[in-house]
Structure formats: structure tokens, C-alpha cells
Symmetry: C2
Subunit: 450 residues, 2 copies
Amino acid sequence: MEQALIDATLERVRAALEAGQVDEAITALTTLHPADRADAFADLPRDEQAEILPRLDAQATADLLEELEGPEAAEVAAHLSPETLADVLDEMEPDEAADLLGDLPPEQAASALAQMEEADEVLPLLAHPDDTAGGLMTSAFYALRRQTTAQIAIDFLRTQRPDAETPYYLYVVDRFQKLIGIVGLRDLIVAEPQATVESIMKRDVVNVPVGTDQEEVARLMSRYDLAALPVVDGNGKLVGVINYAAMVDVIEEEATEDIYRLANVSDGDLQVFSPVRLSVRRRLPWLLVNLGTAFLAASVISLFEATIAKLAVLAVFQSIVAGQGGNAGTQTLAMVVRGLALGEIEFKDAWRAMAREAGIGLIHGMIVGLFVAIGAWLWRGIPILGLVIGMAMVGNLIAAGIAGTLVPLTLKALKLDPALASAVIVTTVTDCVGFGLFLGLATLFLPYLK
Amino acid sequence: MEQALIDATLERVRAALEAGQVDEAITALTTLHPADRADAFADLPRDEQAEILPRLDAQATADLLEELEGPEAAEVAAHLSPETLADVLDEMEPDEAADLLGDLPPEQAASALAQMEEADEVLPLLAHPDDTAGGLMTSAFYALRRQTTAQIAIDFLRTQRPDAETPYYLYVVDRFQKLIGIVGLRDLIVAEPQATVESIMKRDVVNVPVGTDQEEVARLMSRYDLAALPVVDGNGKLVGVINYAAMVDVIEEEATEDIYRLANVSDGDLQVFSPVRLSVRRRLPWLLVNLGTAFLAASVISLFEATIAKLAVLAVFQSIVAGQGGNAGTQTLAMVVRGLALGEIEFKDAWRAMAREAGIGLIHGMIVGLFVAIGAWLWRGIPILGLVIGMAMVGNLIAAGIAGTLVPLTLKALKLDPALASAVIVTTVTDCVGFGLFLGLATLFLPYLK
């Protein structure tokens, strides 16, 4: 939608640069929304970026770096002098500045930090892993004491530089900086000027410790419709706030990760146009794991090689049984993995879920089995072949339901990601059960099949 | 996390109900956060719900219905008289009320609407499909004229009932109700009391027409970090606002839909504990479609039945080639589908993406092919078998890269969901190419394989 606008602006920017009018190029870029501006900038060739960058002021560079993807931002920042970078980092949101510092080479990060004026806002954020509440929070929040009046709070806000990113809440803390309540800007406006924030604050504020996993953060913010989530340390002291933009990123990241893991891609940041080398490193290992399990399934087939040598048509049908098991298992797996991610299924539901999916597998197996039996009979004219393949299908779809439930729930119980490797394990089960059941039954019924 | 608290409260509620102390039960429920309260209520048996429901006031019932899942809310609402339901709907957020009315039987919805006081807030929302901007928006927003002063705006807010759900923005419109700007509450507080909203508003507000698909809504809100997105009609008139809670729901829904569709489950609302009948209806059709494509792949195998009859070991290895193709194709598919959903890939990138994935397929194919060739050789002692399977693997992984890119991009170009049916088509391609290449090459090299 916005792509046409970005493309048109890019043309103006490049024409201006070719004519040597850097200021005109910057003006053209500035007409775009910051997110689009960053996209346009990223689309420029390296040398044209280098013409523009030194002419941007610290705030404009900060806006740009905030909107660029992590690795791109680090690359652009690498071209700035330590002094300029320090000025730019001072203008950035503390959480964004911390993320950027984390992506920079350690020496560059250290020298920039040493020259920053607001390093104390950023330093505490550097201590936390990216995928925890501490790594997501910003230190740009306003904390008030309980006896502050609404009028004083409003006057205080007037003294602060306005900043679109600051959450629309104020936090109330006691003298140990412990979080005791929250006041929305709206409540502040509506309140009597002399009312204390204690009298208008909401108590029982949902909050999380700094170490909370980002998936749990996103789940809570979504469950309770929170636009901002306060983060506390081990003593209940308010240390940061996660705003909804960070949460939206997390929800998207976690969904991408689940989709990728179900598809055996082990890095949620990988994109189609990531470097080929990275792509191979993240995908090839799973293909090799799959190769190992494929040999396992093949060894099940090889048990029945003598049967196949007598009746080659079995090789035609074996894949149908195994493949359908894989499809049915993937359906169950997707529902269980997503249910766990969204908090719709708990571990206590494990047996009930398994029984239900096994039951659905039985129903699906009987119906699909009937179709495949009729298909095989009509195609080959051997009714017993239909019976064998139908029975194997019922068994394999039950196995698919059980494996599709048990594997992710077991991984969850082991505190692993339920999506991780689930697909490999489930399809290995359905391949082995499918080949084994079908070829085993065929071996039993061989006299009636020829 | 909150489950323990819900369970403990449920015990108190049920003990109180057994002792006939309904008020105590309600008090216990009220200690919970509304989202948890709704969960606890939903966990109660039908008859205990029926004891509590009539004792809740309209606001409490409204809070409950807002938090319950759609079908559960409709079921609870079905037990209310038209008068009570009308009162409750008046207390609900207009967008939630509209959603609930859409889920009720038409007669009940009509009679409740007829008795509502604020029906005019809800009626316009009923006209839009659930999955469009119009279906997501609420009519509870504040629009100001440009010459309004900051002080008048604040005084106006004081006259309104405070409401946690109302977005933290005010919208500025001209005399035709056309959206011309946006003012954050923070800007309002910080402004001089006599400043007009026109002088402090932000222009160029990102907005969408009512018919915009919800996926596009979520993408824009995420791209531009918007906490609220104004919705306009065909004349640019402001008709509603989508708040971030609705957007978060959409992002989760769309991610679930992508995961499900890649796994061939055709209904994003389906959950493990959905009714069995519904589950079968949503999943069986895909299994039957897959069965059709499985017969297609089987027919490719049957072309080479004579070869397999001469050399049964081919039946052992054919699945490895086809299966690896399926895995590699799924990797590509997941990345392309997700890239399209997040706006990272555009259709103009199609050829470049396909060339890249074909190239990665070639690299993967050579490495996996080498491993499988060595494995087959070592296992069976037939070097030419290794060569055949290795070559087939290279070809099939290239096909996987091409199909995994082209299928979702083609669906997108046809304005269909790129995730829909992609997995079926891609694995059909990799099955057919895998079986055909491997068995075809084996037939060619048959004299050297025995």
C-alpha cells in the first residue's frame, strides 16, 4: 500500500542526489512516515546512504536507527564517529538504544556509551537478555509518589519533553520505589486538581519480574488488554515498562517462531532474502536430522522387502498410508502448539486432549480408510488390498492423533518449546507406524493379495 | 500463571454456592481481574452460572460478556430477558456489543436492539463484516472541531464518563466530519489552555477505509506503532476507531490462521477442545483432498512398478527422496507465507525469491544428496544406487525451492490467501517429482543396480 509512495519518494531522492542536492534529498525523505523513511533509506545504495547520513541531525539519525531492522541499524551506526553515535543514542528511546548497543561490536558500544550523557538510562537495560521482560522494557516512564496531587503531576508532565513513545500511564511507587498503583492520563485530566494520585490510582497492577520470558509477557498483555506492562525487580521495585509496540513485535516474533519451527526452520529472524550462507546454516541441519529419521522409516520398509519383491504394488500404496498419517499428525500438532502458545491448553489437559485427538483420528481413519480402500480396490481390483490399506489407515491416524498431542505436551513439560522438533518426531512416528502397519498387514494377508 | 488463582477462587465460589451464599460467591469472583473472572465463570457448571447471573448488575454482566469468548458470551446472553440484555448491551463497549449481537439469534438480537438506549452507537457497526476495519472499530471515540481550545477539550473530557477502553487520542474533524488530525491526551495536557487543537494536532494521520481487510489493519498498526487506527467512510468521514486490543486479537488470529492453513486446518477458530463434529468437519475435507493428491503421487510410482518388481530396494529409498523434498518445500513455504504476511516480501520480488530458493535447493540438494548417496551405498553396497538417489535428491530439492516460492506467490497474485492449500500443492509437487526422478533414473540405470 505504502510501497508506491516509498518508490516515488526514492526516485525523487536519487534524482536529487545525482544533481548533488543532498538537502533536497533529505527533504523528500522527511515527507515520509519514519517507518517508511527507514525503508526508503535501506533501499538506497551504500554510497548514497553515506552522502545523506552525515547531513542528518542527531534526532533524525535516532529516528532512522529506531525504525531500521537490528542488523541494518548496526551497519549504519558503524559509519558514525563515537561522538556522533553517542549523541544519537542519547536521542533514541532507551530500549532501542540498548538494543542497538547490543548489536554493535563491543569496542564501538563501549566507546559510545562512555560518551553518552544519558548512559545511566541505558546501562541497566543492557543487563537483560533480549527475549525477557528486562530486554523489552524501556526506562522512559514516569513514577510518582502517592501523595502527589493531580495538578502537580500535570505540571510535572509539562516540564518533560513531549515524546510520542512514552506510555499513556503514570506509575505510583512507595518510598522504596515499589510499584503500588497506576494512573491513566485520562484519570489525571478528569480528577480534581487537589486529589492525590493515591486516591485516583488503580491498585493490583498486573506486572512481571525482569526475567519473565517474552512469550509470557505477550500472553499477559494480550489476555488483560494492557497497553503497557510494568516490570519489577526481585524486590518489587519498578525498573521499567514494556509498551504495546514492543509487545506487538513479540507477538509477531513468537508466531513466526512457531510457524518456522513447525516447518523446521530454526531461526525466527530468517527471511527469504537473508544471506544464503545463514539460510543454509539454519535450515540444512534440520534437513539432515530429517534424513536420519527418513533412514529410520526406510529401515521399517526394508523389513518387508521380501513382501514388496513379491508384490510391487505395495510400494505404490505405502506412501499413501504414511503420508496421510503425516498430514493428520500435522493438523493435531498445529492445534496443540498454537493452543499452548495462546494459553488455551494447559498441561493438565494432556490426557483429555490425547484421548480426544485419538478419537478424532479413529473417525478420520475410518472415513479416509473407507475411501482409500474403495480407491485401491477399484484401481487394482484386489478387495483384500483395500481392506489392508483401510485398516492400516485407521491405525496410523490414531497414532497421528496421539503423537500430535503427546509430543508437544511432553516438550512443554520438559520446559522446551513445544514447536521445537515436534514436526520431525511426529512425522517419524507416522511414517514408521504407517509403513510398518501397512506392510506388516500386507505380509500377513499376502496369500490373498496376489 | 494466573490459573492457580482462578482455581482457588473457583473453589471458594462453589463452596459459597453450595452454602446458598450467592452474594459471597459473587464477591469472590469480583476479586479476580475481569479476564480471569470470565474464565472462572465459564468453568462453572451451567446450573451454578444460572444462580449467579441474575444477581449481577448490568455493568458486571457487561464486563463478563466482553471477556467471554464469542460463542460462550452468546450462550450466556441467551439466558437474559430482552430488557436485561438491552441494559447490558448499553453498558458494553459498542464494538463488543455489536459482536455479541452478531452472534445472537436474529430475533433475540432484534428485540434487544429495539429496547437499547444507545442502539445508534451500535447499529452502524453491525453493517460491516467481522474481519474488516468496520467490523473491528468502535464508535466510542471523541471528535473535536479544529478551533476547540485545549481547555475546552479537557473540560469536555471531564463531562464524559471515564472509560478505560477509550483510546488515548482525540480526533480532529472539519465540519463535514472529515478526519484532519489527531491530538494525544499528553499533548492536550502539555498545551497552553488557550491553544486550539488545530495548533497542536498531528496531521497526516494514518487511517483506513471501513472495508479494509483485518490483516492489512494489523499490518499498518504494527508497522507504524499505532495504539489506535481511525476508520473513515468513502467520503473521508471519521466513523470509528480501532484500538490496539482489537489489533492484538487480529494479529494473533491471523498468525493462528497461517499456522493452521499451513497444517491444513481450515478454521482459525478451531481448538483442541472444540466439538468433535466441528473438528471433523474442518479437518476431514483436507485429508480427503490430500488423499486425492496422494493417489496422484501413487500413480507416478505405479509407472515404475515393473522396475520395483525387479528391485524391491527402490521401495525402501523412494520415500526418502520424496520426504526430503516435502521438508525442504515446507521450509521455503513457511518463510514465504510469513514474509508475505509481515510485508517483508512483495510480489515484485517473486523471481528473485524463486531464483534464490532454487539456488538454496541446489546447495541443500548437493549436501543432502551426498549424505544420502553415501548412506545408501554403505547400507546396500551398491554405489550406483547412491548416485541415483543423490541426483534425484538434488533435482527434488530444487523443485521444492521453486514450488515453495511460486505457489504462495501465485495464490497471493490471485488475491487468495497464500497459506491456503499451499502445503498440499507443494508436497504434491515434491512427491511426484521425487518419486518420478528417483524411479525414472533407477529405471535408466537398472542394469547397473542389480
